[in-house]
Symmetry: none
């Protein structure tokens, strides 16, 4: 029922990363790993882990800085890993919103136990209406890949949903045929294909598909989404 939980491990020492990955996966978690802050940020956006294990000392951006960056956009529970025990006060003092703190002398089993504890604490707050995007009469539920119009769910095909999502996330931004083909058709394909998909999407989301008010054509260029038609 509940899908597998994802945990991200960030540490520049591959042996630690691998060790934790083994233990986490043994316990049924899905482990995502990164060895520096940059990689971590990218994978965080991509995989949306429910929990992050963060090494403090890393080359480049430190764990503290990364934590701050993550906190700008997310409430994900963050657990710090540290070689020494002396950093605990620092973490508190910084008010970084860390959720737990683990010294590396702890056994991997203990780390996993702490992860579980944090997730338990956060779970009850999970009956979470996922970020819903509102665009005029439409609302998109990303987690469910569902689209509603006036409260009614619309039966969209995968391509239609992908297209609509891109448009809704970038209202009034013009997308050329080439851009759309690059993004959804691996760069190969015909403008005509795009047109047909747009037409079918209109058939579903527009009140009067003959006079589209959401998906507007930009002559000779591509299409544009009007959030407030």
């Amino acid at each position: 029922m509940t899908e597998r939980q994802t945990v991200m491990v960030v540490d520049d020492d591959p042996s630690i990363v691998e060790l934790l990955r083994d233990f986490l996966e043994n316990d049924g978690f899905l482990a995502v790993t990164a060895c520096d802050a940059e990689e971590a940020l990218e994978k965080f956006r991509q995989d949306e882990p429910q929990c992050v294990l963060l090494d403090i000392m890393m080359p480049g951006q430190s764990g503290f800085e990364l934590c701050r960056t993550l906190r700008e956009t997310s409430d994900v529970p963050i657990l710090f890993l540290s070689a020494r025990g002396g950093d605990v006060d620092k973490i508190r003092g910084l008010g970084l919103g860390a959720d737990d703190y683990i010294v590396k002398t702890a056994s991997p089993g203990e780390v996993v136990a702490r992860v579980k504890a944090v997730l338990r604490r956060y779970r009850p707050s999970r009956p979470h209406v996922p970020p819903m995007l509102q665009a005029g009469r439409l609302s998109l539920d990303f987690a469910a890949r569902a689209v509603y119009a006036d409260g009614r769910e619309l039966p969209l095909t995968p391509k239609e949903y992908d297209l609509l999502r891109l448009f809704c996330e970038n209202p009034r931004q013009v997308f050329t045929y080439e851009q759309l083909l690059d993004r959804f058709w691996d760069g190969v394909g015909d403008k005509h294909t795009v047109r047909v998909h747009i037409a079918r999407l209109r058939e579903k989301i527009e009140i009067d598909p003959e006079r589209p008010r959401y998906l507007a054509n930009v002559w000779g260029v591509g299409y544009r989404f009007e959030a407030k038609p």
Copy 2:
């Protein structure tokens, strides 16, 4: 630097309202409260809160209806409060554009945390004001390939838009027929073609196309754009 954020709390139970107000103000928010939908609408207009906490069950207009009303004019993040947990699916299905959902058994601290989370999510996406180029009465939105005159969108053809954009980006710079032909007609074409396009453009952007004040002719050479006519 950043002014205090305002949060509106709408609930018919005064004890809940006061409890949340205390916690919110403790965290540095400015709290505005209302105990029914009517009061809420009025205060919403007046105080323009950055976030709304909304009880579902209220005498008179329900939270759902109020949400719909607010959504007609605003994208403000809305968090629902509910006594029971069973309403989550309802909220999704209604496609009301709720941003989060909290059961009342949650601690006030958690409510505040959710408010912060929602505000964090919305903050970065707010400065979504597209780069606009202003030229006298005209403004160009490059991303949308749109041109406005006195706030009204002008229906321009592709060539007209391309021409106007070049001129607006280089005010008072003279462009010869040759330069324009090189740039927009692959070097082949007639001066006359340029003239006709300029005429059609004037028809749309000038107040009195007979006496153009934006697109000025430079005798024997080409054209020039006057940003401050």
